[in-house]
Symmetry: C2
Subunit: 139 residues, 2 copies
């Protein structure tokens, strides 16, 4: 799917793609595939790959160590992603469309029938501090 989107990875990046099932054991339904390009103290950039219908479950990025939580912009590259953000109507993003989610705001998203490739531009990722609504989830 990344190659079909015209995205080139290094061999190390290909070998290091993160496959997250959020501890629920049903990857095809609830999960996410992630390539982390960079994650410094200040900036993070990733590509997210979602299979058809796959869901990234509801969560938020709380403040950590006196800093505001993670702010992230999702930009759809291929396919369609349905984005649900606290306080907003459902957003449907197609290629070239994007939305910025402010810190500590609940959100979840689901790919459409063709799946989706989504670029994420954000402040530092601290996945271990994410707060998921479903208490069974372990990130």
């Amino acid at each position: 799917m990344l190659a079909d989107a015209g995205i080139v990875l290094t061999p190390q990046e290909r070998a290091g793609i993160e496959v997250a099932d959020f501890g629920l054991g049903s990857l095809d339904e609830i999960g996410l595939q992630v390539v982390v390009y960079v994650n410094t103290e200040r900036v993070c950039a990733k590509e997210l790959v979602l299979f058809p219908g796959q869901v990234c479950p509801e969560h938020r990025h709380p403040p950590v160590a006196g800093e505001p939580g993670k702010e992230e912009t999702f930009r759809c590259r291929t396919g369609t992603v349905h984005l649900h953000v606290e306080g907003h109507d459902e957003l449907v993003l197609g290629p070239g469309e994007q939305f910025t989610i402010m810190p500590d705001t609940l959100h979840w998203f689901q790919a459409g029938d063709e799946g989706a490739v989504v670029s994420e531009f954000s402040t530092r990722s601290r996945d271990e501090t994410d707060v998921f609504t479903d208490p069974r989830i372990v990130r």
Copy 2:
């Protein structure tokens, strides 16, 4: 070049592509074409397009208002970019290769013979505070 790289823009983004000649009036040699996806207080993401051999001239991003200067990661998507960073040997980045430039570090870059499309992931862009080595340059 963006379309050839598989990158989809909205009509507004297409209409708003920034063409920077740095006030020197020789765009084909010294210049840069820029699509800004997002530029908040904390995060910025752009696509940079360089014509064959085109140069982005030497500059640095100094501290502003008590904050460290802009930190930026350049990731080559298509073509080749020759990156010159203070304190480093010349870097040649091909598709999928990237480099992170820390704040207040002099750098310049030039596209190879096919031009280049380069993604930039950074902290906030404040172009008006950039410091160029060539005193004729007005950003």
